[in-house]
Symmetry: C2
Subunit: 115 residues, 2 copies
DNA sequence: TAGTTTTGCTATTAAATAAGTAGCAATATG
DNA sequence: CATATTGCTACTTATTTAATAGCAAAACTA
């Protein structure tokens, strides 16, 4: 699976607008989870496997390669780590955590004939 | 495919933490793209098909059902539309557009031995 | 009111992606 | 030297997505 880069055709956009490339990349299984987790600090391949309860090594490896190709993570002596870009992306993702807990999760408690 | 709801096991989290459920949901093909696009206004099934250049009707329908189950979109007389939750989520996603264009896209222009 | 179009799908099959499992080479550790 | 850990690859199976056809219902057209 080829990493989706801005400027090139990606799933959903022949023009490869950056946001489309990003959504394609992040919309692959575990991609956001890996970024999310690595913000806590660098981690090893096997550490990430443990964190991502059900990821297979093939998928993890594929995803790590794509994220590296896209400049979001890199290998360091302590294992895989977010790059500067990866950290910036995490910071954009981060508010979703609070929203999911404080807002979205509650939408399931209301009965369905809301508003 | 069952929609990932907070509080229930999802891919990657047996406890179903809200953020994990959200990442599972949004990490499925086209999910973010649909939310992204619907912010511009309600759209029909076929309108969404055109927008998502290469989505199949089966996938689109599955995704629409999941997003409805998760309270992010709803059907209106004008077609599918974001709910209040969907709009809130879009607003969290939105900054990624600018970042992708202004920051991330440029990371590919630099040569690889950056920093 | 009988076509024609549009819409929102379903069904079926094929292709792509991800999971599950085993295991191996390289390095570290005892 | 034996054992453990790490970062994978290879292989097979299961799940997800795409491709294509087509149909029923509603709206529009003549």
């Amino acid at each position: 699976m080829v990493a989706p880069k801005p400027g090139f055709p990606v799933r959903g956009s022949k023009s490869g607008q950056p946001i489309m490339a990003l959504l394609d990349l992040l919309g692959r299984s575990w991609a956001m989870g890996i970024v999310w987790h690595l913000y806590a600090g660098p981690n090893t391949f096997r550490g990430l496997q443990d964190y991502c309860e059900s990821i297979s090594p093939t998928t993890l490896n594929t995803r790590l390669k794509e994220l590296r190709d896209c400049n979001l993570i890199e290998r360091t002596l302590e294992g895989y780590a977010l790059t500067e870009y990866g950290r910036e992306l995490y910071e954009l993702l981060e508010p979703m955590g609070g929203w999911a807990r404080q807002r979205w999760a509650h939408s399931f408690e209301e009965n369905d004939n809301k508003e």
